[in-house]
């Protein structure tokens, strides 16, 4: 029975994998170049510094605020509207003498009757720690996943899924670097969630590849992988769609605070969906997966035999 007669779409994903590789390579190079040349725009969570969000009754006078700050000799200030023109975000680089008192003195200086919506101060040491911890968290997540996938499948699958994850993370970081969107703790959380999501997708495809290898007498890996990709395609798209739906809700309705969080997830889900179709399977094909690698060990064989 061919796929066509089963009414399953037959798209030649595997045959087109060269184009996908070129596409991915371009994205990766652009991302790495952007990260290398202009870097990420780290938020105060990582750089340290002070952030103040103020609410005014009428349109806020940004120039007035800027000149007041300048006259008080604060260095590296950035004043901008935040969400609407009655809300102002003031960001300060770490000052020579950074302390939590800076925000109090600024608020006092700008006058009474302003609604203080948010104040964040991160000391230089804390920022450094958060950066280190963040990097470590990413590494631990990848290692944990590598071990689990290697244990559940086979090392080539583990490498395939890690290749997809690294691909996704670099591209999301690349977009953040290219557009100079602020990278804060919530974005880091989003990227870790992207890792989880993209992996979820990849695992579903891998599961099907393994199943197909075991179920057919074909030995050529390419058609088997392609068949698995087609069989899981509608699920892959459906889940991405529902996830994107809720993310659009978060992105547009969740408010400024989680705007970049939702943005990172939106990009990540799109890239993650693409990578689980192209990158992960291309990698395992490149590493030469074959039916023999799928044959279960003695113990697993018994379990399979015991199935109804």
């Amino acid at each position: 029975m061919s796929l066509k007669s089963l009414n399953i779409p037959v798209i030649d994903f595997v045959g087109k994998r060269k184009y996908a590789m070129i596409f991915s390579a371009i994205l990766l190079i652009a991302s790495i170049a952007s990260i290398g040349f202009q870097g990420l725009k780290f938020g105060i969570d990582f750089t340290g510094g002070t952030l103040i969000e103020l609410g005014y009754e009428k349109t806020a006078d940004l120039e007035g605020i800027r000149s007041k700050l300048a006259s008080a000799d604060f260095k590296g200030t950035n004043v901008q509207y935040f969400g609407s023109d009655t809300e102002v975000l003031i960001q300060l680089e770490p000052q020579a003498a950074s302390s939590a008192q800076i925000s109090s003195s600024i608020i006092r200086m700008l006058g009474e009757g302003i609604d203080v919506r948010r104040v964040e101060f991160v000391g230089p040491k804390v920022g450094e720690e958060l950066t280190n911890d963040g990097g470590l968290a990413m590494l631990y997540a990848l290692i944990g996943i590598l071990i689990y996938v290697a244990f559940r499948f086979e090392y080539r699958f583990a490498l395939g899924s890690i290749a997809a994850l690294v691909h996704d993370v670099i591209i999301v970081l690349g977009v953040f670097s290219l557009l100079q969107i602020e990278f804060d703790l919530t974005v880091l959380a989003a990227i870790l969630a992207v890792i989880g999501y993209s992996l979820n997708d990849t695992i579903v495809v891998f599961d099907r590849i393994r199943e197909n290898f075991l179920a057919t007498r074909h030995v050529e890996p390419e058609p088997i992988v392609n068949e698995a990709l087609n069989q899981t395609l509608s699920r892959t798209l459906m889940t991405s769609l529902t996830t994107l739906l809720v993310l659009f809700a978060l992105f547009y309705l969740g408010g400024e605070v989680i705007h970049s969080f939702a943005g990172a997830l939106l990009i990540g889900v799109v890239i993650g969906t693409y990578s689980s179709i192209y990158v992960a399977s291309t990698t395992i094909l490149a590493m030469g997966i074959s039916k023999e690698d799928m044959l279960p060990s003695e113990k697993e064989k018994k379990e399979i035999d015991a199935r109804p």
């Binding site: 950074s98 302390s99 939590a100 968290a137 599961d207």
Partner: protein, 615 residues
């Protein structure tokens, strides 16, 4: 086939009933309230309840109810005006044994509260409030403890005239001797009387050795400094009047302070970080301050101090009393409407004060304000701690008559300063300087915005998914929707039961779970469709669909769970909240999407002759 045993269905219904029950408290709003707590060991009792309630009635304040809940007196109000006016009223009328704080009290019906039902606890980013991370200056702790050992060592060795000289260098005490016998004798004495001091390896010369504080003693000093600071901070927070504050240790040298609902964060910052105290000293009237400055030599027994405006004054080195002798302090204004702080000393302080004022009538006594500060500055790209100590004379007044333990300090700049000083003196000083190394403040208006926006995005995201699933999978889609709804209820009930703090990223985690939770159902439904293409037996297709998808679902979810557990252990507030809801959501979604949806499908199609599936 496709039939669950009755016990299985009963169990599922039971689970869902319990989760719905414990999710219910979140439907009830909360009342504006005032919470009154006893300070220290004091616990509020029925007597307090009666007197407070009569105070309120006498002043014609409208309140909904009053009662004792969890060792607190809780007064609920209908409007914020009577809440605020009662706070001022009660704060003035109650003694300092009570903390009076504004709060929001959940208005859960009694039967539900009796079952242990609680609403989710909202994080600071949703209810507004301040989060501080304070770091205790441990180097200062070590150096203070070294100073103490230095003094003890001198006293002990002086008894038998053992040592020649003791000098302090880089946290090491070098002791030199006249002879080897004396050195050996001193070693024995130190070993017996000051076991916390150990000889630094390789520092021993013929007639000298270096001593350092043993690492055990250092650790002990650090941990006791941390504990004492926590106690002092708790006292200060109580003075500020905050409902449900969190003050806890983080790691070995940090303290987290969370103050929900605090509006005046500037004051909170001033109060928490201040290491301030006062000293009372006599003015040196015999020597001229100008001569001392010009010659550059201060007479022995005196020390040069300055007023805040820079005027110099010679004060005696002997201290009459310090902040540690103060048992109570309160701020007020004097006859001339100038701010002042009334002081009550303990018995030993009172005795010395009485003796001094008796002997030195007509002399001046000065009040010195001492403040220690530590801040981290960046020098050549490296963060270093900068310490500073200011000692200002607040005032110097002539002793008009004798007094002992009760008197006033005047000469304070503003009533705000007087209030702060009184508070700091009351709450006790910090045993080591602290520095605020992280602050996150969310104002009440942003908190309310966040709740609203979070709620709307959950609602809209949820509705979109419901519509989409129903359109794509028809009857099965509706079943998935029921499962999804139950999933949301279960997440909320678990969050309420374990009282995990819900934050805005936490809400984002819930939204994301809503999107991802249907994945399990999508996997199953797509699989059933596929099975239907190869078999005519619909019952078999349903069953095979569920079975074959199961392992895939488990694999996919476990890997996501790994990522979210890493997030959790990474553990900073914002991220933790996201990790908690995501983890819970993944686990509950497996239950609802696989087991609950199967139960419903079984009820609809199980055991029946089905011609066509609406999928």
């Amino acid at each position: 086939m496709n039939h669950y045993a009755p016990w299985k269905n009963t169990l599922i219904v039971f689970f869902l009933f319990i989760s719905t029950l414990y999710a219910l408290p979140n439907l009830y709003g909360s009342d504006l309230a005032i919470q009154i707590t006893g300070t220290g060991d004091y616990v509020v009792e029925d007597g307090d309840l009666e007197s407070i309630s009569s105070t309120l009635t006498e002043n014609n304040v409208d309140f909904k109810s009053i009662g004792i809940e969890n060792n607190n007196i809780l007064i609920r109000f209908g409007d914020s005006k009577s809440q605020l006016s009662s706070k001022t009223l009660l704060k003035d009328s109650l003694s300092r044994n009570y903390v009076v704080a504004l709060n929001l009290a959940p208005s859960i019906p009694q039967w539900l509260g009796g079952l242990g039902g609680k609403a989710m606890s909202l994080g600071l980013d949703l209810r507004g409030g301040v989060h501080f991370l304070l770091e205790v200056d441990m180097e200062a702790v070590v150096s203070t403890s070294l100073d103490r050992y230095y003094n003890e060592l001198r006293t002990i060795l002086r008894k038998d005239k053992l040592y020649k000289k003791i000098r302090k260098e880089d946290n090491i005490l070098f002791v030199s001797f006249k002879s080897e016998e004396l050195k050996n004798e001193a070693k024995k004495v130190i070993k017996n009387d000051l076991p916390d001091l150990v000889i630094l390896e390789g520092s021993e010369l013929e007639l000298e050795f270096g001593l350092e504080v043993s690492s055990n003693a250092q650790t002990a000093a650090k941990s006791s400094a941390l504990k004492q600071n926590i106690t002092t901070l708790r006292n200060r927070v109580n003075e500020l009047g905050v409902a449900e504050p969190i003050i806890q240790q983080q790691g070995t040298e940090r303290i987290v302070v969370q103050l929900p609902g605090v509006q005046d964060t500037a004051r909170a910052k001033e109060i928490l970080g201040a290491v301030a105290t006062v000293e009372f000293r006599l003015v040196d009237e015999k020597n001229d301050v100008q001569t001392a400055i010009q010659s550059g030599k201060t007479p022995s027994g005196s020390k040069l101090y300055k007023f805040k405006d820079g005027r110099p004054l010679l004060l005696k080195t002997t201290v009459i009393a310090t902040g540690e002798n103060i048992v109570d302090a309160s701020s007020s204004v004097d006859q001339d409407n100038q701010p002042q702080v009334s002081i009550v000393l303990d018995s030993s302080g009172g005795r010395t004060m009485l003796e001094t004022t008796k002997e030195f009538i007509g002399y001046r006594m000065a009040v010195v304000f001492i403040e220690n500060q530590v801040e981290t500055i960046i020098e050549d790209g490296v963060a270093v701690k900068k310490r500073s100590k200011t000692q200002d004379i607040i005032n110097a007044a002539t002793i008009q008559g004798t007094f002992s333990n009760r008197f006033q300090i005047t000469g304070i700049d503003s009533s705000r300063e007087a209030r702060n000083l009184a508070l700091l003196l009351r709450a006790g000083s910090l045993s080591a300087p602290v520095e605020i190394i992280e602050e996150r403040t969310i104002g009440p208006s942003l908190g309310a915005d966040n709740i609203q926006k979070g709620f709307i995005s959950v609602l809209v995201g949820f509705a979109l998914v419901l519509v989409f699933m129903a359109w794509r999978y028809r009857v099965f889609g509706l079943v998935a929707n029921v499962a999804l709804t139950l999933n949301l209820i279960t997440i909320i009930s678990i969050l309420s039961m374990i009282q995990a703090t819900l934050t805005l990223p936490g809400i984002a985690g819930i939204v994301l779970t809503v999107g991802m939770a249907v994945d399990a159902n999508v996997l199953i439904f797509e699989r059933i469709k596929e099975e239907m293409r190869s078999t005519k037996d619909i019952q078999k297709a349903i069953s095979a669909g569920y079975e074959k998808a199961l392992l895939t679902i488990a694999d996919a979810n476990i890997t996501t769970l790994i990522a979210s557990l890493v997030l959790f252990s990474f553990g900073t507030g914002a991220i933790k909240g996201f990790a908690v809801t995501l983890s819970i959501g993944i686990i509950t979604s497996m239950f609802t999407a696989i087991i609950v949806s199967r139960a419903i499908i079984n009820l609809i199609y199980g055991g029946k002759k089905v011609e066509e599936l609406a999928i």
